[in-house]
Every structure is written in C-alpha cells, then in structure tokens.
C-alpha cells in the first residue's frame, strides 16, 4: 500500500510495505553477519567430521578421532583408580595400626575421609560429626559399639538393625507400652537413671522412688546396660552414667525411652562404598573420636 521511500536517517530505501505505520528498510544483510554465519557452519562441519555426529539407519558416522563418550569415561575411571591406587591399596590390605602409625597416609585419610563423610554420613551425623537429637555424636569418646577402627568398620559395613545378614542388632524394648513394667515402675527406673547423672536429684523426697527404680534396673535393665549402668559395646547398650545422650538425658525423654523403647537405624554401606572407602571412613571417624577427650 505504501510507496518505497528513502529513510532520512540511514539513507536506505524502505521495502514499500507498511503495517499500521510500521515500515521496514531494505538494508542488505551486513557482511559481518554472513561471515560469522559461515564461520559457525564451518565449525559445525569440522566437529561432524571429527566425532560421532550423523545417524545412518542403525548406525552413525563415527568421526575421524574415533572418540566415544562411553570409552572416554571408562578410560577416565581407570585412570582415576590408578592415580589413587598408591594409597587405596595400602588401606585395603594394611592393618589399621600400621596405617595409624603412618602420619603421611593419615593426612590422606583425613582429607579424603572429610569428603566421604560429607557426602555419606553428614546428613545424619552432621558435617562436623557432632550428631544431633537421635543421631550420636562421633567426636566424643563415648561409643555404642566401640571406637576402634575395626569395630567402626563393622558398624559401617553392616549397619545397625539393617537387612544385612551380619547386621548389628540393638533393640531396647518398649517396657511401658508392652506392659513389661507398670506405670509406676517406668517412672521409678527413669528417676533412678536420671539420678545417676544428676546427684542433686537424690533428695530425701525422691530417695524412695530412686531406690525402687534401682531394684527395677537390676532385674530389668542390667542385662544390657550392666549392673553399674555403664553400658556394653557387645549389644550397643549406651553408658547411662555419662553426660552423653543419643535421645536426650532429661527426665521426660528417659521416661519416653523406657516406655516406648528405642531402635536406632544405621544403613549398611557394604555395597555402596568400596573397601578402601569404608576403611578410610572407619579411620576418619576413629580419628574424630580421638581428637577430643
């Protein structure tokens, strides 16, 4: 509808089209655009010749370089394993004592263990290994199943209360809910356990209850936690006389534990991590425990 006219700013002609006042200039495609276009196409062409690119029925052009991502990644994995072999081989075969004695190897264990711990253990035990409510602190000297690297390896490998045939099994029964103890006995034994770590709780008015609790403890709890209530690594029964608690050491939580029982869970890592990784973590966690009294 509109006529071709000259644009005063650019000096170009319009195409003669007009839509509600919009016009277009008939500017040729700038040479730079065409050159750039050719460059990108040549770049693509080179790639097509060098690497797998175009489908041909049931196969495809393989490329002059003979590269394929599958073989590349396989080679890289082997390369990485070889790079690590110097120390992973030692970790797999050497006794823990000799690894612990070798400070330079322990440096590697600490660096690698920190990353492995962060990716696999930190979700429950925290990045620093200090645990949180219901998940044990791994940096102290208080261990449910023992803090030696061999024992930690066993826990890591088979887990606690897992489906692995060699799993560690620990179960604190629900004494109250399952009616093994009556309401009064639950409160008494909880009061006794509480008094172990809170001497000032043993006041004259509580003394009777604590004494009744002690009797319940000896007949019911001592089998796992021991007469002196210091626990047993054999069955994963915690020491009840220290200040470290997995589920909480206040009176209400102790009552809840006796009433409803406790059954912790730690996954088995046997098939998810390599032997070298498990042993690295065992040493790393052991090392965490020795760092503070």
């Amino acid at each position: 509808m509109a006529e071709v006219e000259r644009d005063p700013v650019s000096g170009r002609d319009t195409t003669g089209h007009e839509w509600n006042g919009i016009k277009e200039l008939d500017t040729p495609v700038p040479r730079g655009v065409l050159i750039f276009l050719i460059v990108t196409h040549l770049w693509a062409l080179v790639w097509w010749f060098l690497v797998p690119a175009w489908p041909l029925g049931t196969t495809y052009t393989r490329g002059l370089l003979g590269i394929d991502q599958r073989t590349t990644v396989e080679a890289r994995v082997v390369e990485g394993q070889q790079e690590r072999a110097a120390w992973t081989a030692r970790l797999e075969t050497e006794a823990y004592d000799s690894v612990l004695a070798d400070e330079s190897l322990m440096q590697t264990v600490r660096a690698t263990g920190r990353q492995l711990f962060g990716d696999n253990c930190a979700a429950c035990h925290g990045r620093d290994g200090k645990g949180r409510a219901n998940y044990p602190d791994l940096t102290d000297d208080d261990w449910l199943w023992g803090g030696g690297p061999e024992l930690i390896e066993q826990t890591l490998r088979y887990g606690i209360n897992t489906r692995h045939p060699d799993t560690r099994i620990a179960q604190m029964p629900a004494f109250g809910r399952d009616e093994m103890l009556d309401r009064n006995q639950v409160r008494s034994v909880a009061a006794y356990v509480y008094s172990l770590t809170h001497p000032d709780y043993s006041t004259a008015e509580n003394l009777e209850r604590i004494e009744a609790g002690r009797e319940v403890f000896v007949t019911t709890c001592a089998a796992c936690h021991g007469e002196n209530a210091q626990g047993s690594g054999e069955v994963g029964a915690p020491n009840l006389t220290d200040s470290r608690w997995v589920y909480g050491g206040d009176l209400d939580t102790i009552i809840a534990s006796v009433h409803g029982g406790r059954q912790g869970h730690m996954p088995t890592w046997d098939e998810r991590l390599t032997t070298a990784e498990i042993r690295t973590l065992a040493l790393y966690v052991h090392d965490l425990g020795t760092q503070q009294p």
């Binding site: 509808m1 195409t15 277009e24 770049w43 495809y60 790079e83 930190a122």
Partner: protein
C-alpha cells in the same frame, strides 16, 4: 465483558460454559477418591464463575454498531490484567523458593509448601501465567493492527484466553496437592494437557483466520513469529505429553516414551519451549512495539528473514544439549551442540536488527523508560543467546551443567529478555488500548525499569558466581586423586549467593507491583484522551477507491 456479543452468541457461550461445568462434574465423580476429583470441582467452579458473569449481563443491550468497523479489544484488556496478576503471583513464588534455598525453614514443614511443589508454581506462574497471557493479549492486538482486520471470532478469543487460564489454574493447584507428571515445564497431568490442546488449536485457527482476513498484501514479521509460536507449541505440547492415565478416575498418568527417548523428547520439548514460547512469541512482541515506540522503520527486512528461518530451523535440533554426558548417544549430543552454535548468528541477527532499528531514536531511548525496557530486553536477548550457545558446547557444559550457572542463564533470558520486553510492550499497549494519552506516571515506569535492571543484574551475577564455584568445587581433586569437596561443602559456599539471588528477585517483584499500580491508575485515573476513530480496521466500505 460480553457487551460485544449478540444474543445468540451469548447463548452459545453459556452452552460452552455449561458443557465445561458438566465435564468438571464428571471429573469430580470419576475421581472422587483422587486428586482428580479436586480438579473436577475446580473446573466446575471456574465454569460456574464464567456462567455467572454471562448470566448476570445476559440481557444487556446487544451491540448495534457494525462490529467489523472496530477492533476486538475486550479480551486483550482482560488478558493484560490476568498477565500482571500472574506476574505478581509467579514472581512472589519465585522469591519464596529462592529464600527457601537460603533458609530452608521457610517451607514451614508442610507438604504443599515444600520446595519441590512451590518451584513449579513459580515456573508455571511466570512462564505460562505471566508470559502466556501477555503473549495471547499482545498477539490479539498485533494481529488485528497489522492485518487491519478484526479478530475472526466473537466467542473464540474469550474461549482461548479463559480456557488457557483454566489450564494454568489446574496446573498450579495440582502442584500444591501433589499432582505432577515430573516433566519440567510440562508438569500438568493428562486431563489438563488434553484441555490445553483444545484451547490451543482454537487459538491457532482463530489466528490463521484473522490473518486470512487481512487487508494488507503482506504478513508482518511479528505475525510470522506469533504463528510459529502457536503452531510449534501445539506440536511440542502434544508430542511430549503423550501419556496413558492409570485410569479415568486418576490424575496420575505414565508417559508413552521409554527411557532415554523420554529424556530426549522432554528436552526437545523443553528447549523448544524456550525457543518458540519464550523467544519466538516475544520476538513477535518486539517486532511490533519496539518500532512503534521508537517511531523508526525496522533496520532490515532481509535480516528479519534470515533470523526468522534460522531460529525456526536450528532451534529444533538443539534440545539434546540438555543431555550432554548422559545415556543419550554421543552423536545426538554432537548434533545438539553444533546446531546450538549455528543458532547463534540468527539469534544475534534478531537482537542486532532490534538495536539497529533504534538508530535515529537513541534520544528516545534515553528519555523514555518504556523504550529503554525494550532496548535492554534486546541486549539481554543477545547476551543470553550467546551464553546459551556457549554453554551448549560439551566441554563448557561439563562445568556448567547441573550448577546455578544454568539457573542464572535462564533468568538472564526470563527476566532480562522476556519480562523486560513484556513490560515495555505493555507500557506501550495499555495507553493505546484504553485510549489514554500516556501511562499514569512516567516516573513510576522509570522506577520499575531500574528495579527490574538492578534485580536482574544482582540475580544473574549471583548465579554466575555460585554456578562456577559449584562447578569447580565438584571437579576439584586432591593430589591423591580423591574429591576435595563434599556436596555439602558446595552448598555452604552457595549460601551468600542464594541470599543475593533472593534479594535480586525481590527487587524484580517490587518492580512488577509498581507496574501493576501504574497500569491500574492509567485505566482508572486518567481521562480518555486520544480521539477515537483513528485506531480502527480497514472496512470494505472505508476504501471505496480500491
């Protein structure tokens, strides 16, 4: 709202609303033990609401004038309002999920407000709610003006607009109650997808028929892009959402695509959603509102042709660059990478064509924040298309993939390009549509511009930094050949950037709220100023000389 419909058209519209309501009732009955039932109730409420509006104005006087002598602007006005409402909703959700990444407690321990459910309400809210409504509204405006013809339907524009919003409501409400296909940007389940097919085919037919009525010998570039947008989105949507529902009474369905083919189809869809929804459609906007606002002719018609066909052809191949170093065969990755790089020149040609169109109007860019919105959009378009092609190169991708760099790249495009061109277009369109001389406050447009620019830059720089740090931390090895950092270490390093990102998003959201107020006041507080009559289609009577 229905003042322009004749009495028989009002009856037809009521019949459609009743049919949709009955469909909702059937969904509610069949899915009474499932989330499908909830959606049936939502469909009934939506259709009932439309029916209520129809019936309460049913007996208003019918239009007396010749409708072909005026453009059909009512659906456009509602579309703009819906678009801005979705913008505020979607951007608020974005700020919320961004804040959750820095402070996870903001999920408040509830299922509906967990990150996994809110994140798609953000993406659907901004892409489909804000972007989609803006595209429908502006495409209705542009096609009428550049064809100098009224839309080829009286009910169908309303059907497209409201039907599309019903889809968005079903999608977003579904995420909150746990309904999802788990396909990114295609999360809505099978019944919502089927509904969108009906709506979208109606949109396509309406658009084609309007173009066929045009009084201009040529089809303007903006319409090429809008048509490509409508056609290709239909193809993408249908192919990617082919699925079998578990039963007619369940919201859950399973895709028909197996394994890696599913991944490939999904990213063919995903990347072309970027191409044809977020690029082609908004280029249609740019090609109309930028030259109108700048009062300059398009720099080069030939460049328009080159970039249009380059973009439509090359984008189709590029999707596999989302699946580098995966189970997808190497050769498919090579094709995705090389076509992504070849795509760069046509993309830059579009951005360049827009910027060179501003030659002779740079003083307007300086003085007019509305035009500056569109100029900045073209710059961000150029930046993010370069970045996209660069990130598609396999070795670069091995660093950038799965990191926040991707998120930053997407937002350089979504905030910098899509949202800026939309705001620029709406600030041009609103006064002309409501026959106002100007926007209510030029100062508030200026405020919105700087909030949007500051928000985008803070966001994108934060994500560039965090993404590259992440990528490097994940690939750093110790001298012994073991990984130096655990994943949580990289999360700790992200923390300050996540705060910065949430702050950038907040600025952008505030800008959108300012825009809403300005549009509202333009409609409510300014007197009609522009003489009516200039902005009308060419009717056969009006040009007896031809």
């Amino acid at each position: 709202m229905i003042g322009q419909l004749t009495s028989s058209e009002r009856q037809n519209a009521a019949v459609i609303a009743v049919v949709v309501a009955i469909a909702g009732m059937v969904m509610a009955a069949l899915g009474r033990s499932d989330a499908l039932g909830v959606h049936g109730v939502i469909v009934m409420l939506f259709a009932g609401g439309v029916l209520y509006i129809l019936m309460s104005t049913f007996y208003e006087p019918e239009p007396t004038e010749d409708r072909e002598a005026s453009y059909y602007d009512d659906p456009i006005k509602v579309g703009i309002a819906l678009s801005m409402a979705w913008a505020v909703f979607g951007m608020f959700m974005g700020v919320w999920v961004a804040a959750q990444l820095a402070w996870p407690d903001l999920a408040f321990d509830a299922g509906w407000s967990s990150f996994g459910r809110l994140r798609p309400t953000h993406t659907t809210g901004v892409i489909f709610g804000f972007g989609g409504n803006a595209l429908i509204a502006t495409s209705f405006h542009v096609v009428q003006r550049t064809s100098r013809a009224r839309l080829a339907g009286q009910i169908s524009p309303w059907f497209v607009l409201l039907g599309y919003n019903l889809f968005c409501v079903l999608a977003v409400s579904g995420y909150l109650i746990g309904v999802t296909q788990s396909k990114e940007y295609a999360e809505a389940e099978w019944y919502a997808d089927l509904w969108l097919v009906v709506v979208w085919v109606t949109y396509f037919i309406l658009y084609i028929r309007t173009i066929a009525r045009r009084k201009e010998p040529h089809i303007y570039v903006a319409n090429w892009y809008f048509m490509a947008f409508i056609l290709v989105v239909a193809i993408l949507h249908i192919v990617n959402n082919l699925a079998l529902p578990v039963s007619w009474g369940h919201a859950k369905s399973y895709t028909i695509w197996p394994g890696v083919q599913d991944a490939m189809v999904q990213w063919w869809y995903g990347h072309n959603a970027v191409a044809f929804f977020l690029t082609a459609g908004f280029l249609g906007m740019l090609y109309y509102y930028l030259p109108v606002r700048a009062q300059r002719p398009i720099f080069s018609y030939r460049l328009s042709i080159l970039s249009f066909w380059g973009i439509t052809f090359f984008y189709m191949w590029a999707g596999s660059h989302h699946l580098h170093y995966t189970a997808l065969p190497h050769w498919v990755q090579t094709l995705g990478m090389t076509f992504s790089v070849m795509l760069l020149v046509p993309s830059w040609a579009s951005a360049g064509n827009a910027l060179l169109t501003l030659n002779g109007a740079w003083h307007r860019v300086r003085d007019d924040a509305t035009l500056r919105f569109m100029m900045a959009a073209a710059v961000f378009y150029g930046l993010s298309t370069f970045e996209g092609s660069f990130m598609a190169i396999r070795p670069v991708n091995s660093l950038s993939h799965y990191t926040d760099w991707t998120v930053g790249h997407v937002h350089a495009g979504a905030l910098g390009w899509v949202a800026l061109i939309t705001f620029g277009s709406l600030y041009t369109l609103v006064p002309s549509l409501w026959k106002r001389e100007r926007m209510y406050s030029a100062a508030l447009v200026e405020v919105h511009f700087w909030l949007a620019i500051a928000g985008t830059l803070i966001y994108v720089f934060a994500m560039w930094n965090s993404g590259i740090i992440q990528g490097l931390m994940w690939r750093t090895y110790t001298e012994e050949g073991a990984l130096a950092y655990s994943f949580v270490d990289s999360l700790v390093a992200m923390y300050p950037y996540y705060i910065a990102r949430a702050f950038g998003g907040l600025l952008f959201l505030i800008g959108a709220v300012v825009g809403c107020y300005n549009i509202w006041m333009t409609v409510r507080a300014l007197p009609a100023a522009v003489a009516a009559g200039a902005d009308v289609p060419v009717t056969p009577v009006a040009i007896p000389g031809e």
